[in-house]
């Protein structure tokens, strides 16, 4: 894989991947990220996705979530996903934050931010990273329902939008 840059900034940390055990404010994170990356002049496009904890799933009220992961492999897989995106599109930098552990309703679970010179690259890469993360990054959700726990069995396809609950 190679990072194809419009310009090369050797001092910049172009790929940031973090797992968080504490709740985070995605907008504050993005602000700090942008300030840290600066060099704004070549970034025409920023595409962001935030996934948050919903209070319903598969017809049931969900009161909380436990997010299990595979320490070591999860980080490695997230890197693989981002490197693949950087090889396919021309990107400036990528940020991926993901929660692990206990999560409450409304909290952010995942944040993906892709910056690029052009919007096509930013949109495509942001969405591709999210889909790959959903289907290959080793995270598992256990939902707290009112009367029991329930493991979520895989993720749906985010491209083909069908009738869902």
């Amino acid at each position: 894989m190679k990072w194809r840059f419009f310009r090369w900034y050797p001092e910049a940390d172009i790929l940031r991947i973090e797992l968080r055990t504490e709740t985070f404010d995605p907008w504050q994170e993005l602000r700090a990220h942008e300030a840290q990356m600066s060099l704004a002049g070549d970034c025409g496009a920023t595409a962001v996705f935030v996934g948050s904890m919903r209070d319903f799933n598969a017809g049931d009220k969900v009161e909380g979530l436990y997010l299990e992961h595979y320490p070591g492999m999860t980080e490695r897989q997230l890197h693989t996903i981002c490197e693949a995106a950087a090889g396919r599109w021309t990107l400036r930098d990528v940020l991926v934050l993901h929660r692990v552990g206990e999560i409450r309703v409304g909290e952010a679970i995942v944040l993906v931010c892709v910056r690029a010179a052009h919007r096509g690259d930013a949109f495509d890469a942001c969405r591709a990273i999210m889909e790959e993360l959903k289907h290959t990054a080793p995270f598992w959700k256990k939902e707290k329902l009112q009367d029991r726990g329930r493991w979520v069995e895989g993720n749906t396809d985010g491209y083909a939008v069908k009738e869902r609950n």
Partner: protein, 77 residues
């Protein structure tokens, strides 16, 4: 001469183990690792496997000191 074995999510719960080691045997395959680690449990269909933290297919040959992980379809994000 050992292979580390890990189970995650509902597989961890149903097997009742999160991490264990099994003895390494030459020409060991993933199915053998399961048999040695899973305390007589049937290996469920549709589970995923990683060897040394990378996705692996059943026909990969296990080497001494490998880490083999079994887990269900992922559901992050």
């Amino acid at each position: 001469m050992a292979v580390t074995v890990k189970f995650f999510a509902n597989l961890r719960e149903s097997v009742g183990i999160s991490s264990t080691t099994v003895e390494y045997v030459p020409d060991m395959k993933i199915a053998d690792v399961w048999k040695a680690a899973a305390k007589g449990k049937e290996r469920p269909l549709g589970m995923l496997t990683a060897v040394n933290m990378e996705y692996a297919k059943d026909d990969v040959v296990i080497r001494d000191n490998d880490e083999v992980a079994f887990f269900p379809m992922v559901s992050g994000g």
